[in-house]
Amino acid sequence: MKKGALLFVVLLMLVASGVSVMTAQDAVTLQMWSRDSNQDFLRELVDMWNADHPNQIELTIIPAADFVTRVGVASAGGEAPDLLPIDLIYVPQFAQAGNLVEIGAFIDALPYADQLSASHVHLGEYDGGRYAVPFAAEGSVLLYNKGLFEAAGLDPEAPPTTWEGIYEAAKAITALGDDNYGFYFSGACAGCNAFTFLPLIWASGGDVLTEDGLSATVDTPEVRAALEFYKRMWDEGLIPPSAQADTGTDFFGAFTTGKIGMVGSGAFSIAILKNDHPDIDFGLTFLPGQEGGISSFAGGDSIAITSSSQHAAEAFEFISWVLSDEIQLQMFAARGQLPLRADLVDNEFSREDPRLITNAEAMNLGKTPYSFVYNQLFNDANGPWLAMIQTAIFQGDVDGAIANGQAGFAAILGE
């Protein structure tokens, strides 16, 4: 590890001083796999790196639904790629299984190590080691349609700050008729609701897991209240019926029709809305708690180096390039991506659109559950999390939903 760090520091100095690293050392080709969300951006990023670095990166994009399967099978055969950007919630599991290289020494060598997104850093820790750094940042927020707010007689500059506020606004917007609905969520998408529904619970002071992520706290008043909040909006028809079936394909698309008042979403929406739907005047605010308070799900990808890689130092060279000021500003910030470092949140691009700053703030104060079985708990379309939401909201059985949710979580956590 030390030798690698030394080599890395030397390389970094060479790059910094503008000396070409094209020396006697042989150039290597690094493999990198990623899931397919945000693939255009990734391709551009990799092309940019390849254009002026001797070590080349070969990028393979894999359909998101099969990404973990793909990586798992490859790891079993010792064929994992060098660079592995993964949904940050998987990092503990991958680290525990011994699939990742400990990169603490590399991280310490970064001058901005203490500015890296806290949630990503936390999720990258396992058993005293550090295994991943941020690669893509996301924070959940509440998007709202200012045009509909205005039409419904609401103040577009004063978005809701409590659940009651959301409910009242949703009611007013739905009352507009003409297929307008006040609120939307993807009713058949497990991961979407971890992203946008969990923060409602957190902001109210509750949680579904204990701090260490080892026990379930589903059967608590905050969880019940949050489920009842959604159920009330559903029962009163403030949410379009199609929400029940949405497996996530309309998670963001629904809002772009211009007929949805509010929806939980993430920073990625800002650029898409601005580019593809200039007619929608949208605002962005924090996801609130029941009586106030704010929270966010700090999501996105972390990047790690797999233990089967022969080129850890070269791989980290790419990582530190991605985290550098230049790339963070010219590639990430300029394209409306959240920067991965707290010291760069306030930059020339975000100053042009305060919504980006709100989103970055949301992410920085956000949480991410730390669990070795996150996927089974929250992401599984057939797991206890989605089952609880569906039972409570669509079947109206909040008590049964919570009882089953608690039992389901406990079973997976091995309690």
Partner: protein, 295 residues
């Protein structure tokens, strides 16, 4: 032989000749209505794929395109490495699979039909059993074997796996095809001094050709349409096949599907299958006649 058992024998199952015109009209009405139902999804996809992109995902759907527009295909081509990369890989794998599956099935079908040897029944059942295991359950061992053979991430390795999974159907069809060949033909050839192999090559192949083409079509369709193994066994994007592209289009960007690109992708995937079937269907159906009807 097998081809002679054609639609000519069907009359016997029909209503007695010269039955009323009413029945005939009813037949055409029913059949045409059914045909419309069967064709509709395919035709609808084709129509939608050439709509201008906004119309292709309109809510509610529009019926006819306002004008012909290849925009959806252009957008499809923007996914991943461009559509030709995937079409090329799918075609290459399919060709290898077709060659391998027909060759192996023909040889084995001949062996099982014409020779007695120890363990014959057992080996036959073993090949058929391949049908009964979910592919998902042997992914990991298969991947390890391919890695061991240094064939991971090669279309050739993928084709080897596909060939194996074509064998139950292929060997079954070919064994029955050979069973249906009259023995006199072989005996005559043997008298002329042919060896088993050259007899197979020179005499029998022509006769069982419909069976071979059936196996070939089937191998093509299954290889062309397979998704999971193609995704798992190929490490590099440059070796991905068409179904993987289709899945990427479906999972969309941040949860919004480009329905137009999906329709275009479906057409690109389906069209070659339909074309090949239409060209070869004459053999296909008679191949099944010879192959499938005898247990």
């Amino acid at each position: 032989m097998t081809t002679s058992v054609s639609a000519a024998s069907a009359p016997s199952t029909a209503h007695s000749r010269g039955e009323n015109r009413l029945g005939r009209i009813a037949f055409y009405i029913v059949c045409t209505a059914l045909a419309a139902l069967f064709l509709f999804p395919i035709v609808w996809t084709a129509i939608s794929s050439v709509k201008p992109p906004p119309e292709a995902s309109a809510v509610p759907p529009t019926f006819l395109p306002s004008r012909l527009d290849l925009g959806n295909f252009v957008k499809l081509n923007e996914y991943g490495r461009g559509v030709w990369n995937y079409v090329g890989n799918s075609a290459g794998t399919a060709v290898m699979t077709v060659i391998g599956a027909t060759l192996l099935s023909t040889l084995a079908g001949y062996g099982f039909s014409r020779f007695q040897f120890r363990g014959k029944g057992l080996l036959f059942v073993m090949i058929l059993m391949t049908l009964m295991i979910p592919f998902q359950s042997i992914l990991i061992p298969l991947f390890l074997i391919l890695t061991g053979l240094k064939l991971q991430n090669t279309l050739f390795g993928l084709a080897l796996v596909y060939i194996t999974f074509q064998l139950p159907f292929g060997v079954f069809i070919m064994r029955n095809s050979f069973d249906a060949v009259p023995r006199e033909i072989e005996e005559a050839a043997l008298l002329d001094g042919c060896s088993s192999l050259s007899m197979l090559y020179r005499v029998m192949l022509n006769i069982v050709r419909p069976g071979i083409i059936t196996v070939g079509i089937y191998a093509f369709l299954n290889s062309w349409n397979e998704f999971l193994a193609a995704l798992i066994f190929m490490t590099k994007e440059t070796s991905f096949t068409l179904p993987i592209l289709l899945t990427s289009v479906r999972s969309g960007y941040y949860g919004s599907i480009d329905w137009g690109a999906l329709q275009a992708g479906l057409i690109v995937t389906i069209a070659p299958c339909i074309l090949i079937f239409l060209l070869l269907q004459r053999y296909y159906i008679s191949g099944l006649t010879g192959g499938a009807t005898k247990g």
